[in-house]
């Protein structure tokens, strides 16, 4: 199963196996990573599963669509690599993916 590394704002790291087809958001929520709030449960309605894809992975993650791009304008402190983790589906190609989590989703 692909491994996703979640790096929290305080620098602490969690490596989690996420099933292919699941989202990066789901991997975090299922493993009690509180920095991903995911209020809407993955419907791309809320922008509270914001994360930053590590620079080394940005070219490998499929780009955000228009809806996600607009939603990201509402995220707290959007920056290079900003994504909604509910919109990143884990594949074998993303084994080892590294995402950084914001201090707060609000």
């Amino acid at each position: 199963m692909p491994l996703v590394k979640y790096i929290q704002h305080d620098g602490s790291e969690r490596q989690i196996e996420v099933e292919v087809g699941q989202t990066v958001m789901q991997g975090a929520v299922d493993n009690m990573i509180d920095a991903i709030a995911a209020e809407c449960g993955g419907a791309c309605s809320c922008a509270t599963c914001h994360c930053y894809v590590d620079e080394s992975w940005r070219s490998k993650v499929p780009p955000a669509n228009d809806i996600e791009t607009e939603m990201l304008e509402c995220a707290v402190e959007p920056a290079a690599g900003s994504r909604l983790s509910c919109q990143i589906t884990v594949t074998d190609e993303l084994d080892g993916l590294v995402v950084h989590l914001p201090e707060s989703q609000y």
């Binding site: 709030a37 209020e39 809407c40 449960g41 993955g42 419907a43 791309c44 309605s45 809320c46 669509n65 809806i67 996600e68 607009e70 939603m71 304008e73 509402c74 919109q87 609000y106």
Partner: protein, 382 residues
């Protein structure tokens, strides 16, 4: 052609016009398209919320004196107020909350299944909303009995006129609770308002009242209408109930879709800080415009088949909880309540049968829109 009262803005929205909500002393042009509503909701410098009693439409200066917080201020003050109350409004995200709300649903379902039918508005959604609020505010369950007695809308006893006597009951209640919390502090919402620090000082009584007023008024008819509308839909569409039963993982997307489709909060006001042109309607400084969430949520340029309920709609960038800095603080609570209803419903109830329904019509300055039900009698069968 008759106007579809679930989406009375369609023609204007699709022909890129505005509609104007006409009140006796005010004309309020409405922003109708998804993209434009979003942009306005984020542009607080132009579309200001710094206007006591004038963020709701119609305005509420007859029924309250206090400025509701944080909804009736702009950033940066807004953001500081919001941070103070956020811990309470995020309590529904704690995994221990879901079983508590589901237990409330269970009690109501058990009662409903012993009866021939229940009025979902008064006998299900209203008590559920009020009892769930005790968990949000960390208050004793007994308090909900009084809140239930206030009815669906805390400022209204019927129809769309605002009710000063009813609003007075809320004012007195908030006053009493703030007094109580000052004398006997606990871990409840009112006690935390006394403890809160805003810009290095405690909150004034007026600020506490403004926060409490919004807390009680804001998430009341909206949650009741969401739950009632959702149950009304499922009673009329047995296949949808079956779909949820077969695939409970759709409960989250179904909840978002109900928020989009029914849009319990039709719109909200903003005050122009400069002259504006809303599709040919001139807006002077200090005049109001409406950000119409309900219209944006039917925008066909964003939502495929917007007039259809699709329980698996995803992505669903609806604006049912607003958008931008003022987006709904109570969204986690509303979502948890609706999801809990759906979860326990599919586990315990085999059929919902619509007995009678009386649609509620919101009067929006000459425009009529269906919002929830006056009454909705449904038979719940085990």
């Amino acid at each position: 052609m008759s106007i579809d009262k679930t989406d009375p803005f369609r023609e204007a929205r699709e022909s890129d016009r505005t509609v104007v909500a006409n009140y006796s002393d005010e004309r309020i042009p409405m922003i109708l398209r998804h993209r434009e509503v979003r942009l306005a909701a984020r542009d607080w410098q132009t579309y200001s919320s710094d206007a006591p009693c004038r963020v709701p439409i119609p305005e509420e200066s007859d029924v309250r004196q206090v400025r509701q917080l944080p909804i009736e201020v702009d950033p940066p003050e807004h953001t500081d107020y919001r941070k103070l109350v956020l811990p309470f409004f995020q309590r529904p995200l704690d995994p221990t909350m879901a079983p508590k709300i589901e237990a409330l649903v269970d009690t109501l379902l058990s009662e409903a299944m012993t009866k021939t039918s229940v009025d979902v508005v008064a006998e299900f959604a209203l008590p559920l909303q009020s009892r769930a609020l005790t968990h949000l505010l960390n208050m004793p369950m007994e308090e909900s009995e009084l809140w239930i007695s206030w009815g669906t809308h805390v400022f209204r006893t019927g129809g769309d006129s605002l009710d000063t006597e009813q609003a007075g009951a809320l004012d007195r209640y908030i006053e009493q609770q703030l007094d109580r919390a000052e004398d006997n502090p606990g871990a409840d919402f009112f006690s935390e308002l006394h403890r809160a620090q805003f810009k290095g000082r405690g909150l004034t009584r007026e600020e506490m009242t403004g926060i409490a007023n919004l807390t009680f008024a804001g998430g009341r008819d909206t949650i009741i209408n969401l739950v009632s509308s959702g149950l009304g839909y499922l009673a009329q569409n047995p296949k949808a109930l079956q779909q949820l039963r077969e695939n409970p993982s759709l409960i989250n997307t179904a909840t978002e879709e109900f928020v989009r489709y029914f849009s319990p909060k039709t719109h909200i006001g903003r005050v122009a800080t400069k002259t504006l042109d809303i599709k040919g309607e001139a807006v002077e400084v200090d005049q109001r415009v409406s950000l119409c969430w309900a219209s944006a949520n039917r925008d066909a340029s964003v939502f495929e088949a917007p007039a259809e309920v699709r329980l698996d709609r995803k992505p669903n960038p609806h604006l049912g909880f607003g958008h931008g800095p003022h987006s709904c603080l109570g969204a986690p609570q509303a979502r948890l309540v609706m999801r809990s209803v759906l979860k326990r419903l599919v586990e315990r109830v085999s059929t919902l049968e619509l007995i009678t329904a009386e649609q509620a019509i919101e009067q929006i300055g000459g425009i009529e829109r269906n919002v929830g039900f006056e009454q909705l009698h449904i038979r719940f069968s085990e």
